[in-house]
């Protein structure tokens, strides 16, 4: 598959909303153990609002960027917490790189890169600090490697797999950013909730693209 269209973008976000609702308790439990227990609810509240916004659009959205921008502004105004501005900035930056109706493999690489840069710019965390960056950064690298194939789905798959592995790899880490850092050594042994929600988000992008390919 060389290109994904704006329909994919909408399906992605709806899929993400439904996956995050299903994963709400898992995210809550992770955040309960090393944070304050609201991450599942924050993500669910945000993406539920996004879906409501999508449903309420009078005119169909025309570009992938428009979809992502709607996600950005809605998350920014409904999530709060640390993850609200981080995901909000990620989607805002990503929205700027695909200002057209379809996205090819190169666009998707740029999308993941821009999102990750946004998160790092806002949150000032680096790989290894046990945050969502530990899922996004490997996704960037995997997406870049997969780009040569020119296959849009392959780029997404590579990103999602790397994010998944990156999230799992946060388990043994000691957090030095975010709320989990207050726990010091006691933060080791639990997966970072934001890294887990990142892995869910990118997996939803794949699911939505596979639907298009089938």
């Amino acid at each position: 598959m060389t290109e994904l269209d704006v329909g994919w973008a909408e399906r992605w976000i709806r899929q993400a909303a439904s996956d995050l609702k299903a994963g709400r308790d898992e995210l809550t439990e992770l955040d309960r153990r090393i944070g304050d227990g609201d991450h599942g609810n924050n993500m669910d509240r945000g993406f539920t609002a996004v879906v409501a916004k999508l449903d309420g659009q009078a005119e169909p959205l025309e570009t992938v960027g428009q979809v992502l921008k709607l996600v950005a502004t809605t998350l920014m105004s409904t999530v709060g917490g640390a993850s609200g501005p981080l995901y909000g900035t990620a989607f805002l930056r990503a929205s700027k790189v695909v200002d057209q109706a379809t996205a090819d493999a190169g666009h998707l690489v740029s999308l993941v890169e821009a999102a990750t840069e946004g998160i790092v710019a806002r949150g000032r965390a680096h790989v290894g600090e046990k945050t969502m960056v530990d899922a996004w950064q490997p996704a960037v690298e995997a997406a870049e490697s997969a780009a040569e194939s020119g296959d849009a789905l392959a780029v997404l798959r590579a990103a999602a797999e790397a994010a998944e592995a990156g999230a799992v790899a946060t388990v043994p880490l000691v957090a030095t950013k975010g709320r989990a850092s207050y726990l010091g050594e006691r933060s080791a042994g639990t997966e970072d909730p934001g890294a887990r929600s990142t892995a869910m988000l990118l997996a939803a992008a794949v699911t939505a693209a596979e639907g298009a390919a089938a």
Binding site: D38, G81, V174, L183, G184, R186
Partner: protein, 331 residues
């Protein structure tokens, strides 16, 4: 989970609505987005002092909106920072032409959301200054953490900044006084029980019947250390020792001693803790010139207490003593 709530998703809004009705003479509640302002607004030409953060810490912050303290408060969802558009709306409503001071507790979420709001407000031509409160000595302020958290000491910053603004100080002056409070305020807390976030439905951590959690924040986060439950004296000593280890108090220093309940602690127990802490300070030659005892910066229904010590020089003392009329603090 048993709570006096209806739909957990509406808990913050339902509570705000009641709060608005009960205190209509002092405050106005705004919804969509949620924020609270002084009834009648910020007096013209006065610096607006605004704070906010996740809900669940009541009466902080909305209970301190009123003459002599906050001009607006911005409550997020329970234990979740408010969003930038909420903060922006409060800034727009409260600005009376002399600029706005944002008092932000040092949490990644609060910092990011208030930072974004400040950028948006400045883009609209509103002058904004921010002060970060980080009084919790349970967290080391190091490369390995997001920095010390803001906890009960926030009340002291809000009181002093509000009094300075009421006196007609400029934004820079109000911010500098707030920073002076921050420099001299330290807190340490303990939980006897965890709390339950309404939409989570189960306690934020699990604590055995004979354990207490020392060095907690105010979001039901687990603490620094879990120890066998001991008496009030033993627990208070751990809290006060941590505070005194962190801040250099010369003998003869004059301080405010603030014993704060976490929401589910009987007043009688707070006074027992106060008595022990007071004696410990006296033993160090530290003079307690003002006292505050009550549940002001809470974690829902958590049972526990925090001890805050704030250095008060003559000017800060005068600002602390200045009249205040808010739903939760009046003198």
């Amino acid at each position: 989970m048993k709570k006096l709530l209806d739909d957990p998703a509406q808990a913050v809004t339902d509570s705000l609505r009641g709060f608005g009705l009960a205190h209509a003479d002092q405050i106005s509640v705004h919804t969509e987005p949620n924020f609270v302002t002084r009834a009648g607004g910020t007096p013209a030409g006065q610096v607006a002092v605004i704070s906010g953060g996740g809900s669940g810490h009541e009466p902080l912050h909305a209970g301190f909106v009123g003459a002599g303290m906050l001009d607006a408060a911005v409550p997020g969802e329970v234990f979740t920072s408010p969003t930038p558009d909420q903060v922006l709306a409060a800034v727009q409503a409260a600005d009376a032409g002399a600029g706005v001071l944002l008092i932000v507790k040092n949490y990644t979420g609060d910092v990011l959301n208030f930072e974004t709001a400040a950028e948006l407000a400045e883009a609209e031509g509103i002058e904004v200054a921010s002060v970060l409160v980080n009084d919790d000595v349970a967290v080391e302020d190091s490369l390995y953490t997001a920095g010390r958290r803001g906890v009960a000491g926030t009340l002291v910053v809000e009181k002093v900044a509000g009094a300075a603004a009421a006196r007609g100080a400029s934004l820079a002056e109000v911010a500098a006084l707030a920073e002076r409070v921050v420099a001299g305020v330290r807190s340490m807390g303990v939980a006897l029980t965890a709390c339950t976030v309404p939409h989570v439905g189960r306690p934020s951590f699990d604590l055995a019947d004979d354990e207490v959690e020392i060095g907690i924040g105010i979001h039901g986060e687990p603490g620094r250390q879990r120890v066998q439950a001991a008496g009030a004296s033993d627990i208070t000593r751990r809290l006060v020792d941590s505070v005194l280890d962190d801040i250099d108090l010369a003998a003869g220093a004059r301080v405010l001693l603030f014993v704060n309940g976490m929401g589910g602690t009987p007043a009688s127990e707070l006074y027992v803790v106060y008595g022990v802490a007071r004696q410990m300070l006296a033993d160090q030659g530290v003079e307690v010139v003002r006292s505050l005892v009550g549940s002001y910066v809470t974690s829902l229904e958590m049972q526990g207490v925090s001890v805050t010590v704030a250095v008060l020089d003559d000017e800060l003392l005068e600002l602390w003593d200045a009249p205040v009329r808010t739903p939760a603090l009046t003198w």
